[in-house]
Point group: C2
Chain length 487, copies 2
């Protein structure tokens, strides 16, 4: 009997241990570090020199040093970077939340401008960074970089939707046709998923107070849109971004007050934790000696490569912000609608920061199962870390003073300056269509498109899919009293 | 250049696909089915014959049939059951939520009774089921079951904390001493984690409206308590259960109103989705032909085994509910404090249902990487499915009429009958300490222990850790106006 019990014992210990003990230790440390990042980030927030992203990087670096010393220089990270982890768990909440928290009114009112800046701007920036890297890097003899690597560099560091740009590059056919097809199909899928969730919840749940079901359904349908898009080889990022916009425009108004509060904060929290996770990982991985061995062989080259990349990011963004602003200004009649030079500088500056998504994409492009064997790849990773670190810390800290000098008047300061808004900026910069950096354009709205959209929305969409103020009042139904607070 | 671009293409497609296309298809189907379960479960709710659990089982069965036909009889499930999936993702939210939603006042007031019923009752039930199975099953010649398998059966089908019981069985030393050590250590760890979260949030965040940080910290610290407990080879289930109780008693009152709503519903939603996930999986897996091939060889034996298990569950629960009620009644003076026979029958009945955790544990005990090669193991799995199905459907449906007959008066009906309360019963029965089944005892509270606990709580605990009504009012701080609604 003793033997049999111990046989159960072994099996059950194995079962309850879930995997080996080492991985449990790693998970413990990682979760504890996440908590520490949030706490320290909060404590240091008052100094206005730090936020959770920088704290996570710093804590990751310190932990990396400790692990490096403990393991005798063998390894500096707790987890090996996994593409699955990033694309299945970390990226969807970040992007969905970005769509969900978009200021819909301003987004739709400036849809054309945002699309111009987003699509054309990204293309310009992408071309400049790719060509620039190609032009400068071959002089340094840093090893074999393929043309694909240069294009990936352009995609990673060009402003808006890096993942979509990478996706477009995968195709064999005409890029422009595919760009339009991918964009349209991905957007439509996201919009349909969002509308479906709005319709279903409006028809089934309204006034029944089944908050848990509503929240579960919203989360599951948003995630479904993401993986459906992957299934059809579309841009899952675009899909889930637009699904977020539609869900916050229709679905969110069809659910109970509790569901609204819950979804708003759950999505923000998930996104927040995912970003800290990435920063913490990168901080830890930054000390991986394998990578820095290449760098220490030629520190001058590494510094040069990082500086060139940083300069290309600055030039790439300037190359579309100022010309496109000029073109936009040509269409405006009154001077008050035009984008002033100071505003242009702010738009240019506010979008310079590269964040967690850039780093994760660089890891994906330049690592093979956690190792950076090739000299060139190692330098690319270390340079990306340097650029992200520098832009987050230096550009991030200079944004607030800069905005105060350039735009001393009115509410623009609180709108533009990163680090003030709870939902987006505190969580570190992300490489997705940033309404923050384009919010400057809102002082010059083009009312015409928006006007017809509103008419169409009120006449056809809202009666079917619900939405703000279009859900008939039923006793015991979602109350609107706190709506101004969340909106 | 063309070659290079296509090389990027391959790498990026690989990168964006996250893994092979088949697994993306599986994920899509699974998430879509989860949505379908919630929707259908809701639609069928009005009939009062169904809930999400039964719907998930039914949908799982139907999908299993379709997959079986599509694959030509090779497989009937989309995902192979993974211990990691269950213990890392699905179990923690279910158990934590059970602790978080416990009615603290009634739980603490009846702490001794609950512990008596929970600990002693489980031991009695466990012994009866294990010994009964050992006694009856060897007559059927169903294959080689080890003594460990019988003990596991007892643990899986005995009422309360199956996972903890299994954990105790793993140890080599004296069970009783270890039971007490494990219980104490796991509880203390959970309580400390909960108190720490309360203290930290009270000190750092109070009145600052950082909802996302608070929610993230609560989720991460709860999860940290769970994996810390695993790290120390304790009962992670008990730890996270008590962490949930402490968090809802202290931490929850220290956060903003939005955080309260968000955490309450997020935890409930996660638990809800995790349970549906398990039921859906089991429904799909129930059709796995490998298992039923053994059963179809000897259908009589299978029916006999299932019936015996069901009878043992009935007897095992009766064997502690009635004697312990008798003993409890001896300590009460006034007849109104005593547990009447009708109440005892209700307590006995309400705890009979076996749910998702039972099934998951049976899979863990009797499968090796998704296959049930051994004849005895296959019969154990199919019998567990039969018992869970039968008890969920038949016992579940009979509970409400039974309660109406036995306890026609007052509010007991709504308290006891499963299927009415949103937070627990709708999500299917779970094998954890169920306040629901013990709530009958609340009509006879023993005020003495509770009285001193309240005094201690008010004098020492709440001033330090916060809690209801003990958080001083600060302008802009969490408002209490909606508190009755959530509590």
């Amino acid at each position: 009997m003793a033997v049999d019990v111990s046989s159960l014992s072994e099996r059950s210990v194995e079962m309850l241990m879930t995997s080996d003990h080492t991985s449990v230790v790693s998970m413990n440390l990682f979760v504890a570090l996440l908590c520490a990042c949030i706490l320290l980030g909060h404590l240091l927030e008052e100094s206005r020199w730090m936020n959770e992203s920088i704290t996570a990087l710093a804590i990751g670096l310190c932990t990396g040093v400790i692990i490096l010393l403990t393991t005798g220089g063998k390894s500096s990270h707790l987890l090996v970077f996994s593409e699955d982890l990033f694309f299945i768990y970390l990226l969807p909440p970040i992007i969905f939340n970005a769509g969900f928290q978009v200021k819909k009114k301003q987004f739709f009112r400036n849809f054309m401008t945002i699309m111009t800046f987003g699509a054309v701007g990204t293309l310009i920036s992408f071309a400049i960074i790719s060509l620039g890297a190609m032009h400068f890097f071959h002089k340094f003899n840093i090893g074999s970089l393929k043309i694909g690597d240069y294009l990936a560099l352009g995609a990673i560091f060009s402003a808006t939707d890096s993942v979509c740009t990478l996706q477009v590059l995968n195709q064999d056919e005409t890029p422009l046709k595919l760009l339009i097809y991918l964009f349209a199909a991905s957007t439509i899928l996201g919009v349909v998923a969002g509308l479906l969730s709005a319709y279903v919840i409006k028809k089934l749940y309204f006034g029944r107070h089944s908050t848990d079901r509503e929240v579960a359904l919203m989360i599951l349908m948003a995630y479904l849109s993401y993986i459906l898009s992957e299934l059809f080889y579309l841009s899952a990022i675009l899909t889930v971004f637009f699904c977020g916009i539609v869900m916050s425009h229709y679905t969110w108004h069809n659910v109970t007050e509790s569901s609204r509060v819950t979804t708003k904060h759950t999505f923000a929290t998930l996104s927040f934790v995912a970003e800290i996770f990435i920063f913490l990982y990168v901080g830890m991985d930054a000390l991986d000696i394998e990578k820095w061995r290449f760098v220490s062989d030629s520190p001058g080259k590494s510094i040069a490569v990082s500086s060139i990349l940083l300069a290309l990011v600055l030039v790439g963004r300037a190359a579309f912000v100022f010309p496109l602003s000029f073109l936009t200004n040509l269409t405006k009649k009154s001077p008050s609608d035009k984008i002033s030079l100071k505003q242009q500088v702010t738009i240019w500056w506010a979008g310079l920061m590269r964040g967690s998504v850039s780093m994760a994409l660089a890891y994906n492009q330049f690592t093979r199962s956690g190792h950076t064997d090739l000299r060139a790849n190692a330098i690319m990773i270390t340079s990306t870390i340097t650029v992200v670190l520098f832009s987050t810390v230096v550009f991030g800290l200079m944004t607030k003073p800069l905005v105060r000098i350039l735009l001393p008047s009115s509410k623009h300061i609180s709108k533009v300056s990163l680090g003030v808004q709870d939902s987006e900026a505190n969580h570190g910069p992300v490489n997705i269509p940033r309404p923050t950096s384009l919010r400057m354009l809102l002082s010059s709205p083009s009312h015409t498109v928006h006007h017809y959209w509103r008419k169409f929305d009120n006449a056809f969409m809202r009666p079917v899919f619900g939405g703000r103020g279009f859900v008939p009042y039923v006793p015991g139904s979602p109350v609107e009293q706190n709506d101004h607070q969340w909106h």
